[in-house]
Structure formats: C-alpha cells, structure tokens
Symmetry: D3
Subunit: 241 residues, 6 copies
Amino acid sequence: MHLTVINPNTTASMTALIEAEARRVAGPDTVITARTPSMGPASIESHYDEALAVPGLLQVIREDQQADAFVLACFGDPGLDAAREAASRPVIGIAEAAMKTASLLGRSFSVVTTMSRTVGRAWDLTRTYGLERQCVGVHACDIPVLELEADQDRTYAVILAFAKNALAADGSDAIVLGCAGMAGLPELLTEQLGVPVVDGVAAGTLLAESLVRLGLRPSTHGELAPPPPKAYTGVLQGFGR
Amino acid sequence: MHLTVINPNTTASMTALIEAEARRVAGPDTVITARTPSMGPASIESHYDEALAVPGLLQVIREDQQADAFVLACFGDPGLDAAREAASRPVIGIAEAAMKTASLLGRSFSVVTTMSRTVGRAWDLTRTYGLERQCVGVHACDIPVLELEADQDRTYAVILAFAKNALAADGSDAIVLGCAGMAGLPELLTEQLGVPVVDGVAAGTLLAESLVRLGLRPSTHGELAPPPPKAYTGVLQGFGR
Amino acid sequence: MHLTVINPNTTASMTALIEAEARRVAGPDTVITARTPSMGPASIESHYDEALAVPGLLQVIREDQQADAFVLACFGDPGLDAAREAASRPVIGIAEAAMKTASLLGRSFSVVTTMSRTVGRAWDLTRTYGLERQCVGVHACDIPVLELEADQDRTYAVILAFAKNALAADGSDAIVLGCAGMAGLPELLTEQLGVPVVDGVAAGTLLAESLVRLGLRPSTHGELAPPPPKAYTGVLQGFGR
Amino acid sequence: MHLTVINPNTTASMTALIEAEARRVAGPDTVITARTPSMGPASIESHYDEALAVPGLLQVIREDQQADAFVLACFGDPGLDAAREAASRPVIGIAEAAMKTASLLGRSFSVVTTMSRTVGRAWDLTRTYGLERQCVGVHACDIPVLELEADQDRTYAVILAFAKNALAADGSDAIVLGCAGMAGLPELLTEQLGVPVVDGVAAGTLLAESLVRLGLRPSTHGELAPPPPKAYTGVLQGFGR
Amino acid sequence: MHLTVINPNTTASMTALIEAEARRVAGPDTVITARTPSMGPASIESHYDEALAVPGLLQVIREDQQADAFVLACFGDPGLDAAREAASRPVIGIAEAAMKTASLLGRSFSVVTTMSRTVGRAWDLTRTYGLERQCVGVHACDIPVLELEADQDRTYAVILAFAKNALAADGSDAIVLGCAGMAGLPELLTEQLGVPVVDGVAAGTLLAESLVRLGLRPSTHGELAPPPPKAYTGVLQGFGR
Amino acid sequence: MHLTVINPNTTASMTALIEAEARRVAGPDTVITARTPSMGPASIESHYDEALAVPGLLQVIREDQQADAFVLACFGDPGLDAAREAASRPVIGIAEAAMKTASLLGRSFSVVTTMSRTVGRAWDLTRTYGLERQCVGVHACDIPVLELEADQDRTYAVILAFAKNALAADGSDAIVLGCAGMAGLPELLTEQLGVPVVDGVAAGTLLAESLVRLGLRPSTHGELAPPPPKAYTGVLQGFGR
C-alpha cells in the first residue's frame, strides 16, 4: 500500500519530521512518501495562510496517481473536502484523525495548539466533526509553528506544561496535539502525563491505512464526486481540465 | 463611500450583472466598482472551485486600497475569514447577507440554488451563521452557473417554479436566492410569489454600506487581525509580505 | 422614507436620546420620528415590565400609518413578532440588530447590559437569533435603566470598565451594548477599546432603512400575516377589530 | 390546597370547560377555581392575541392572594415568566405541562393543535422546554379556537383523524393536545388510539398540586424575584407599585 | 394506588431511607412499598456498577404485578427504558423527576452529587432530558454513597456548603440533589438556602402518582412495547420468556 | 497483537460469522479470537435485551487478560463505558466504529438496521458520537437478528433493496450496516451500490488494531478509571472485588 503524507506548508524540514512519524506507526507493507507543495506559505498561522495553502496541496494530489490514500498534515485540515473531490481516494486530515481517535479513549479531551489566533478555527473543527462536547478546551502555547522544531527540548517542556494545565483546568481525560509540528511527542507525553496523548499524523496514517484495507473510498454519489471540468485562468490555469 | 463588489469567478459578464444590481440598490453617495480576479475558475460549482477562487479574490483585496468595504459575490462565501484578515475593512459575503436579511422577515426561508452538489455547502453556511432552524429547505435547480444568464427568460421561469415548490414543500415564509448569477430577479419574484425574495448581492451591498456608515470594521483584537508576515513560494510568492 | 423609532417605555427623555442617535446615522432622505407609548412601565427591567410594555408599542404601530418601517428600541425586543403581524411593514428589534451586526465583525462578542435579572433574557435572545455561539458573555453593570442618563460621565466610565473586563474575561472580539439607554456611546467606546462596539439603535435604524430600500416587508405567507380580527374586552377593547 | 386555573382568553364558556377538566383530575383536598380575565382577546390565535392576553392574566394573579398555585390554560404559555415573577407561587403553563408529561411516556410525541399560524410558536416552546427532539411533529387542524366547543362531536372526529395521521406520519409514540379547548378529550382518545394522549389542563393541574405538596416555589434568587416597583402609565397604571 | 419504589443497589438501610421520603410526600390513598434487589452492587458509583444494577431492578419489576407505577431511586436512572418495556406501567427515574421538576422553578439549576466520576453521567442525563441549558453546574462532594447515611450531620453540612458554593459559582436559581441517599434533606436545605432544593425521590413519587391518576402508561406503539420473547442463558436464564 | 471480538448475544453461529469477518480484515500479525458470553439473551432486539447482555460481555472481559483490545459486536454498543472501565484496554463498539468510519467518506450516511423498535436507539448513538447531522436516515428491514443468517441470499437481497431506497430517500452518500449479523455483506454491496458501505465489525477491528499500534488505552484520569471495589450480591456476586 502507498500512502502519501502531504505537509501543506512549504518548509521541507517539517515534511521530514512528519514523514518520520508516519513511518514509525505504519504497517510493514505500507510505503510512506511525504511531499512538500511547490507553492504557498512557509507556515500556516491564519485563515489567509490556510486558504493559500490549498492550491499547493491540491496540486500534489493531482500529480500523485500512485498513492492509495493521502494524509493532510496540518491541524486546520485545510481544503479537506476539495482534496477528497480531487483525489477520488481516501484523504484524512490530521485534526479529524486526532479528534476522532481521542473520542475513543475517554469522555473528553483538551487540544494544545500553537497560536492563539487559530483557537477559534480549532473549535470550528470540533463542530464540523461533531465533537464540540468532547473537546472541553483549546489552549495555545503561542510558539510559532516553525520554532517548534528549532529547540525541541524547550518545545517538549512547554507542551508538557500546557497539557498538565489543560487537564487540570478543563477536567479532561486526554490530550490532542494541535499541530503537525508536534509529531513525535505523544509517546513520551503519554507516559509522563498518565493520560492518552494523540497526535494526528500518527492517528491519520493508521486511519488512512484502515480505509485502504477496507476497500473504502470517498463516495462519488454526492458532493465528493470529481469536480466538473472547466476553464481556469492566470497562474492557476493548470488546475482546469 | 467606495464599495468594491468582487465576483470570485473569472467570467466578466457575470461581474457586469452583479455590478448593475449593486448599483441599483446603493445609496446616492456610494460609488460601486465590481472586479473580476485575474486567476481562478470560470465558475464555482465544487469545493475544488471554491478553494481555488480564493487566491484571486484575496489579490483583488490586497490591490484595492480605495474601497471602504467589500462584497464577495459568490453564495458559498469563499475565503470570507481570510478576506477579513487581509482587508482590515468590512467584507460581506452574499450568503451571509441574504440569510441574515431573510431572517428579519419571517420565521423561515428556503434557498433556491444552482447545482445539487452545492446543497450541503449551503447547509454548512446556515450553521456557520446560526440560521439552521430558519432555513427549512435548500433546492437545486441544476442550471450550471454560467447558463443562468444565457437564457434569462428560461432562468426566470425555472427559478419561479422552484421557489413556488419550495414554499409549498417546506412551509417557508421567504425565499433566498442561492447564486450571485440570480441578481436582478428578486423584485419580480417578490411580486409574483407574494413573499419576500432576497438576493445577496443587493442585501450585501446595503449591509456593507451600513457598516461603513456606522464606522465599524472587523475586530483586530482577535483572529481577524492582519495575518503574520512570512515567506510564500512558487506562483503564490506575491502573497507573502 | 419615514422611520418610526419606538421607545417601549414611557420615559420621554429616553425617547429623545434614542431619536438623536437614530438621526445621527440615518441617511439624508430618511425622516426619523421617535414615539413614546401612552401606557406601560417607566422602564423595562423584568419579564413583567417587558410583557406590559407590549400593548403600548402595539398601539403606536396601529396608529402610525405613515412609517415605512419601525425600530423597537428596547434590548429585550419585546413583542417583536406581534409587532410584525400588526405592522405589515418591517419592524427591527435593537437586540436582533445589534447582535446580527456584531456577528459580521468578528468571531465573538460580549454584551454589556444593565440589570443582572435580564441576563437570562439576553441569552434567550442569542438563541432566538442563532448567535449563542458568537455571544460569549453577558455582563450586567446593575445601573438601573433610568439612571443611565442621570450621570452620563459615570455611565460612560462604568460601561467602559465593564467592556474592558468582558473582552479580557471572555476573549471576545467585539462589544454589544445591551440597552437603548446606552445609545450615543459606541463611537467613543470603539475608539478607546480598539474593538467594534455596536449599539442597536444605530444598527437597527440602518437595517430598517435597508429593508425599505430593498422593498422587503415581513412575509404575510405564514405566521406573520395580519392577526385574525376578533372581539377584545375591557381596557384593551380598542385592540380588537 | 387552592389552585387557580386561568383561562387567558375572555370567553367564559371555555373557562367552564377548563374548570371541569381540572376538577376531574384534582386530588380530594384540592379546591379548583377557574378565572376569566377582565381584559383581552376572546381567543388566542396570533402573536398579537398572545401578547395582549398577558395583562389580563397578570391582573388575575395580582388579585388572587388565596391560590397556592396557578395553571395558565393556553397552549402558548403566554406570559409564563412574568406570571412567575408576579405570583411568587408556582405557575404552570399547559404546554410545558403537557410536553414534559408526554416525555415520560415514550421516545417521541406529536402535537395536534388548532391554527396553522401557531405551529411555529409550538415549535418554539419545544425548544424552550428542551423537547425539540421528542416532539416530532406539530399538526394544525385549522378549527378556530372558539369553534372547538361549538360542535363537540365534529371536534372529536377531526382531532381523532389528525392524531391518527400524526402517529403514522411522524412515527411518534404519544399525542399532545395543543389547545386548552381540547380538555376533556384525552381519555377517549387514549382508548381509541392505543397510545397516551396528554392534555395540558389535566397534566398542569397535577404538576401544580405536586409542587405545592413538595413545598416548592419559583426561585427568588435570580430572575424570577418580584419585579422592581415603578410607575406605570395610562390604562395600565394599576400594574405599577 | 400502589407505588413501588426500587432502590437499585442492594443496601437495605438505604431502601428504608428512600421509603420514608416517598411516604412523606405521597397522597393519602397511595400505598408505598420500597424494594431492594436480590442481586447486584452494594452501591452505584461507576458505569460498571450501574450496568450491573439493572438485572436486579428488572427482576423486581417482573415480580411485582401489584404496583400501578414504579420509581427507580438511583440518580443515574439505570435501565430506565428497559424498565419501561418490562413494566408496561409508568416508571419514573429520580434524575429525570428531579431535573424536570426543577425546570419548573427557575431559569437554571445546579446538581450536587456524590462521586466525581459520575459527573459526566449527570451531564449525559441533562442532555437526554433536554435540560442541558437549564443545568449550569454539576458538583461532586466525593462522599461515597454508603457514607451519606453514616454521619447525617456531617452529610448535611457538606451538602449545604456545596450547594451554597454552586449557587454562587454557577449563578443558578435552584439545587437538584444528585443521589437517592440525600432524600430527606431538601426541606431544611430549601429553608436555609432560600432557593428551591429538589430531591428526586420525592419528586418522582409525585410524578408517578400523577401519571396513574391521569390514566397514562408508557406507549406500547413504538419502542417501549414489551420486549420480544426469547431464550436466555446461564444465570440470567430466568429473564427469558 | 491479540484482539478479542465479543458477540454480546449467546448465539454461537453468529459469533462464528463475526470472527470470520474480523479475520478477513485484520493485519497479518493480529490474532483474532471471538467469544460468546455464558449468560444473557440469544439476540438483542430491545432495551431489555441490551441491558441484560451487559453482564455476560463484562464477564468475558474480566476473564480475558490476554487481549490487547476488544471489539463489542452489537450495533447498540451495549455497556461500552462499563467495558472500558473493566478492561483498562481499548474497547471499540461497532456502531461507533461504523459511524465514525463512514463520516470520513462523505457528507452523510444512512443506517440500514434490523428491527423498527431499535431505530430510536440508533439515533441516540448518532448523538452520543456527535454524528446526528451526518446520519440522515435509519431504516429497519424488520428481519429478526437470528434470521439474518438463516437465508443469506434473501438477506442480501433485502438489505440491498433497503440500502438503495435509503440512498434515494435520504440523499445520502454512504451506507452503514446496523447489525453485527450483516458482517460479510459490505464488499459486494459497495460494488453494487457504487457508494461506500461500512460494516462495524470490520471497521471496529481495524480501529482496535490502530489504538494498540498507537499505544493508546482508555484514560484512567477520569471516569473510565477501574471501578471502585465493592460487594456484589446474588447471582452477580462474582462481579464484586
């Protein structure tokens, strides 16, 4: 089975981190490829960045005919519906994956994420996925996305402190990590915190594997059918068909 | 006062139709300019098209420093939050405008829109705007967006028939027109149906005017503050700052 | 265009304040008249007062055939549906106007209102208008309604302090003023707080104007049709027809 | 124990019908008095009628110091919160009573009511009482309120037919009768339909009795405390204190 | 009228407490019998205990053909739907009874319950009964169920302190006692706190009486019909038919 | 990895069917064991059966120390929270598994289940799992559970017909099979219907595998901690500790 994990921002070192985590949990028969788009923002920290990350990830999907399924490794799940239309193969967003996985492990979870200005977006996703009751808190540590990997010891310490505080303040049972750049942390955090800590890159990789093994693809019966072909203009001309 | 009405697709004849309707309802001191993006899809009929329409409309906003406010003339309200971040001036989406205006006129409304595959998206918007109870039906006439203006007599007849049926089937009190390409129809429809018929281009133009007159802009206190500057890559390089 | 702004309580000085604010924002062609009912409570601070304010405001509507639309200037929006039935012309409540306007400006707003015992009523209205998620706090300053105008400097200082606290405690993006007696404050507050501050008298005046310009009236197709005529008894006899 | 059952409209024959039903179910130690207001509409069939019925019923409550509790016998539960403030004793609305009683008997219920234009109001009440999921249909037979008693055989036949249809169309488990004028029907209907049929006059009488026996009154800790005294004007002058 | 009050745990002293409270409020013609199951847990403090309490209470119901109605005296309302199927007579759970009674007395209530690990279950019940908005807080005093009666003075003092704190912290209007072992406390608490305090054993006894007097039983039209007969195996063999 | 799939009813032939399906989809390193409880109902077709199936499945869990995770193969997910408390290892219910998997594949799904009287229970589960909007219909084919395997050709034909009708009537994108006895059907149905068809036994097996691979167990921080030890009485005495 071939899985392609897409880093929707254009920072290659973050793609490498994501790839390593996906490989760590993938089954023995699964070939993981991680890809960086050729256009878009270096990190995703606003609605503006999120919207402008979508063309790049759609291009990756259009050009990758080998993958049996895709994982979108940004916690905002940008362009997820568009990606499913374009792929006609399973596409898993890591926020959806992390939240739905956490919902199997307790009554409630708290999200620890990066920037304060994305907190509202995280709450929107809990509603989209029907988990607004299970999610009982979203906490921003205000470390910019690209600084997460710059000093990993400090990152670990900060996330640990925010997670401890979230469990106490929210009365929650589990932690969801709210950024692809936190991949790699959950094992140690789970051990230290004594509660399940879920990272979406790992969870999404296994959900994507499962859908392929079950032989299930996005429905083409309704709104996720391939988009109707039409002319595109300007620098986006190549997206038409 | 200067208002810019953006047609998020790249079809200039539709821009002209939208401009005419905005001018018809605007106040005497309001200067209306309608703009067509330089990149993106010829019409918006899928999540894929919607996502790929956003870069073009954001570019229009970045380049237009004169406008006091913007109207986004696509019923999916694509990129509305990103547009508010980028503009730092009022931005009104026509779905939000049409639905919130209709909510002042009766207990419930039905939406008559174009393509079946966008019906789910319309329901999503009713939830985003808190009007999922007032909206009691979404009906697709399955006329492609660009055919709406090709044969206006037929378009009027089809919309009239769908609206009549929606009122009866849903027990609704009002009609919301679910496509910018239907601008210009509401007056005659209101008269023939005997219920209020709301078009978002007209409603959005007046809401945008009102916000400017009230001296109100999107809050920069929270998530709608200008996006943090950063590098952008590839054909979207110009969106960085 | 003629707009009648109704002060649902019987205190004439408050009617004058409301009239001044409506005139400040109305368009050049709009004639504003503010009216005080001939029966009912001197101020509205309970469900009891609110219920007993409705006959007076309905009488104003029945006797005013000139107005193209009405604004009900009490933040509880008392009798709004009854008023729409009786008027067959647009009627805008200031709570609905303020909340729906604030919803265009950010993710969330806080309400600053007068008496603690009306806080529950304000939350009810957020649900009626589908904005219970956008409204993230309702704060009562416990200044009785009629004291708001007695010492305007103190009123301004108290409202400013409550608004600052609300923004911090709720993490909100905007402020809604929860009493018609606060009309006149929003401009200065917006400037000092750095977030949008919305007053319903101003917002409602512009929404009423917009509906008249769009040629839209409450639907008579369903429950807002004129009430069936019948006998009325006692001191309310004149309300029959 | 003294219970006062208030018919919020001014039609004395309907008061007699309500009184008979309340007496039928009341306990042996309970003294039932039914009262007709001295002002207001002959029947309640619109928001306008409902609003104008409230002064009359509040006057009954203010003048009745003997009652241990009150039942408001109109399915719209008009003025219920105001009545609780004014009474400082238990006040039960018959819609609340009927719906909460029906919720103890099955998964779902259908409401059979009088006029189509009140259907939306009935749905509003299901939401106020948290029963919008249990209520799966509201059906209007469009018999005007005062005709219900004019031809009781016909009324019974029509209600029976609507109830049968509601059970089949909605897949519901129980019937709630949506008008005080249907008091007296539930026993026979329960027998003929084979499902529980709940009338609010009977259900409300027993809930009021229960609260008195439990020694419970509306909380005066919060918004149901007696309304603050103040001047009232015009024909409503007597409501001030 | 015969009412059977079932203590779903197997501790006889608690059954006696419950019986006394039911007798205190029951009408003069009502014969109260309280029963202890012959199998199951000594107290109910987890999902595990709750699930394993159900066979015992169902056995009590199957063996009691005399009762006109049943009250289930555990605040988790364990097995309520199964009990209604098995009984074909009214069955009232004390959580449902207490919460629905409290909802008649104010805008909001707080629950004071025993163990922290049951708090989530209490919130689940507020949602099942449509009262998740009226319930504004659930507070656990962490006294194990069987210690409630060991030192009644201390129990009273602790509950009083938690209730006072709940009213202040939640801004609530009323208190619901969240354990059958707190029966007997509400009268004194109501007096001392100045707000209504509702115990489900008392409230449930009166609701059960009311349903019997109204001649209403669970609907057998839908899912509460008697369960289809079938073979049962092992120690539960006797539950088959 | 060892997975135990529990058939909560006592019919061994159904256990065999479930085991075969779990083995079909499990990974190469996973050892599947399916177990039948020693007490309880032959099939689960009511709340009564569901409640009485729980002791048997809890006993299986208590006696099985080898399993790394459990799958509960009844679409009602009976006793799921109790099982998680008792197991301290992942426990997946097949309704939760099927619905959450279907939610990754389209906007909406319809459930095709067995008995009409379980339809309400299926809707309850959609709300528990936050998928009440994605689930747009629940359809009962009224084949008793144990007849599903008696005539497999007829079963297939009936399910196919109900699924086709559900897709058309509900406008849904995917089908969820609402009974463990339908395991084995999804592959052929997916092919014939052209939409994803999800069976919970297969989906649950892969979710359980994924949780084990991720090293995640139910949180013991809150309400899913092991139940407090205590005395149990009668035939359930063995459940105490």
